[in-house]
């Protein structure tokens, strides 16, 4: 514009400079005008001021009243953002966040509510929470804007107010935004700041309550899911049980614990459930330990055995007389065998729980090798019934499980035989592979003493044993393993012949 009309501008400038010089040249005779108040004016001014005070007081009172309502009506932290937004004095705000972090926890919770009825609750990682917390704490006016690099976690637009509350077990940040870039008024800021005094006791109350509720819930859940039957009684009246429809009286295995601080209240624990979890746990711990042990053993033995083998074959090729050559050959052979045995062992106990195809006959042969020391002198035989050839019996199974089952059954058979007499050369264990339609029944048959009829129902129960040094876990573990293979071990005495037969059925490939 100036460029468009330079002449006009010049004129104005000239005029102005003339005027000012004229003004400056005037003598200072006139007093400068001063604003003076008449008494009437003063009165009005005072009244206005008072009414403003009244208004303020009213306002504050209203605010407090409202707050008290919140305090009474809010039971959970997640309701808090919505409740705060309802405050009339803060009604110009659009959204409210309440971020809570329980000290010592890896994440905090971010509760969020907007006036458009959008509600959200999400987790906030502890780094973001802490950096926001210290940022808010350091700030004096508590005004922030979205340019903070925390916006990913907050969904805030424009300026927002935030204040921190530091409780004993929790850190809390509450923040409000109008979703605009207009800075909040001083009044709003004051109200916002004063919120914290009221929120502090409320938060303490509801956070503690939430935590207790959670604890209670977890406790009840864990009691309900406890593998054994639990009954809690007060003066013989049931308070709680995780096992509806049965009373503990019928069970003889009872453990009774008095509950501290509650008179006449006891917890009864019965451990008669058939699938005792502890058995499986004990077993799986043992197997995994054994697996690790065997792995280490295999690696540690592998090197020296290989050395033996190498040296042996080297010397054998150098040897001139036949006898030395033969002996060295035997050394190599045995070193090789040791290596194969240890390798097989660790393969059997590997962690892989996967199903794979196996040649059953060969597999049973291998398992028999493993039982060699226990079954010394007892004759062992594999019989195939209904199969054209022993090479064609293929099943798909978890070989670790199956090895343990067959291994245990053979050992059991051998121990049964040995319990009867010391001259076992005439005894035998036969492993029968019987074709039944599209499945195979693996039967371990011995000619030992068999099982007394009155005991047949209990032999698969954990901790049942007739041996002097048995744990009573063998058969119950076998039964659990068989269940994992979706099968079941059956037992029968061979009467009128001596001995017993344990069998399980598996589908053929």
């Amino acid at each position: 514009m100036e460029d468009q009309n330079p002449a006009g501008i010049k004129e104005v400038k000239k005029f102005l400079s003339f005027k000012s010089s004229e003004l400056a040249s005037l003598p200072l005779k006139v007093k400068p005008l001063r604003f003076t108040k008449s008494s009437f004016e003063k009165k009005i001014f005072h009244a206005l001021k008072n009414s403003k005070k009244d208004f303020d007081l009213n306002h504050k009172f209203q605010f407090k009243e409202e707050l008290r309502k919140i305090l009474l009506s809010t039971n959970e932290v997640k309701e808090l953002p919505q409740a705060i937004l309802k405050l009339t004095s803060l009604s110009s705000f659009e959204s409210c966040h309440v971020l809570v972090h329980e000290k010592g926890k890896p994440v905090g919770q971010n509760y969020f509510y907007t006036n458009s009825n959008y509600e959200e609750s999400k987790l906030i990682d502890i780094q973001s929470f802490n950096s926001l917390f210290s940022l808010v704490k350091k700030s004096k006016n508590k005004i922030f804007n979205q340019s903070l690099n925390l916006k990913n976690d907050l969904d805030v637009v424009g300026n927002f107010l935030a204040k921190e509350i530091d409780l004993k077990n929790y850190s809390v940040i509450y923040l409000m935004s109008r979703n605009s870039f207009l800075p909040p008024s001083q009044e709003e800021q004051d109200l916002f700041q004063s919120l914290s005094i009221h929120l502090q006791p409320l938060l303490m109350k509801i956070l503690d309550k939430e935590k207790n509720d959670l604890k209670k819930e977890v406790l009840i859940k864990s009691l309900e899911n406890f593998p054994e039957k639990i009954f809690i009684k007060k003066n013989s009246q049931f308070l709680f049980t995780n096992h509806q429809g049965s009373s503990p009286v019928e069970n003889s295995h009872l453990m009774v614990f008095p509950i501290e601080g509650e008179e006449n209240t006891v917890m009864e624990l019965s451990n008669l459930s058939k699938d005792t979890i502890s058995t499986e746990l004990y077993h799986s711990q043992r197997v995994s330990l054994l697996g690790e042990l065997l792995n280490t053993l295999q690696h540690e033995l592998s090197n020296p055995l290989f050395g033996l083998n190498l040296t042996g074959s080297l010397l054998a090729s150098d040897a001139t007389d036949e006898e030395t050559k033969e002996i060295l050959g035997d050394i190599c052979l045995n070193a090789n065998r040791s290596q194969t045995i240890i390798k097989n062992f660790s393969n059997l106990y590997n962690d892989h729980q996967e199903y794979k195809k196996i040649q059953l006959y060969k597999f049973i042969e291998e398992v028999i090798t493993l039982t060699k020391s226990e079954t010394k002198e007892i004759q062992k035989r594999i019989e195939c019934i209904g199969f054209e050839s022993s090479d064609t019996i293929e099943i798909e199974t978890n070989s670790t499980c199956l090895t343990q089952i067959i291994f245990n059954l053979i050992i059991n058979a051998a121990q049964a035989i040995k319990s009867q007499n010391t001259r076992v050369q005439n005894n035998r264990i036969i492993i029968k592979l019987i074709k039944v339609n599209k499945s195979v029944t693996i039967a371990v048959v011995d000619d030992g003493p068999g099982v007394q009829n009155e005991l047949t129902s209990t032999i698969f129960e954990p901790f049942f044993t007739t041996k002097d040094f048995g744990t009573g876990l063998g058969l119950s573990i076998c039964q659990n393993l068989a269940r994992q293979l979706e099968s079941k071990i059956h037992f029968q005495n061979n009467s009128p012949f001596p001995g017993a037969t344990f069998s399980l059925n598996l589908p053929l490939v």
């Binding site: 690696h299 592998s302 090197n303 020296p304 290989f306 050395g307 033996l308 083998n309 190498l310 040296t311």
Partner: protein, 124 residues
């Protein structure tokens, strides 16, 4: 193939492999410690280095890593053959990174293993 360095700490394997290789007409230097092996590798000329992974002081991979001071990766992949009793997938993957051939102990076929040790390309 004239001179071979065998880094192996199992005495029986070390002695036998040395003898077996010498029978095939090569000079064999043996070493059971990794640090000494590194000095040998940096200061002498070998046509082939057979290196065990589990040594008493350092691992065979450390030996190879130190050899980078003298050899390029391409040279290393041809020069070294790793022998190990612990051929886990992790070990095999690492050996592949160096491009080295890896033989698991025990060798399934000793004669074949010896042939591989003496082959120029060292790749099958």
């Amino acid at each position: 193939m004239n001179k071979i360095l065998l880094v192996e700490d199992e005495p029986l394997i070390q002695k036998s492999l040395k003898k077996l290789l010498e029978k095939r007409g090569v000079e064999v230097v043996v070493e059971s410690r990794g640090r000494e092996a590194i000095q040998l590798i940096l200061n002498q000329k070998f046509d082939r280095i057979i290196c065990d992974l589990m040594l008493q002081d350092i691992s065979g991979f450390d030996v190879i890593e130190e050899s980078k001071a003298r050899f390029t990766m391409a040279e290393i992949s041809k020069l070294f053959i790793i022998i190990t009793a612990y051929s886990s997938p992790h070990v095999i993957e690492k050996a592949t990174q160096y491009g080295c051939l890896l033989l698991s102990k025990p060798f399934e076929n000793i004669e074949e293993a010896l042939t591989i040790f003496l082959s120029e390309g060292a790749k099958i």
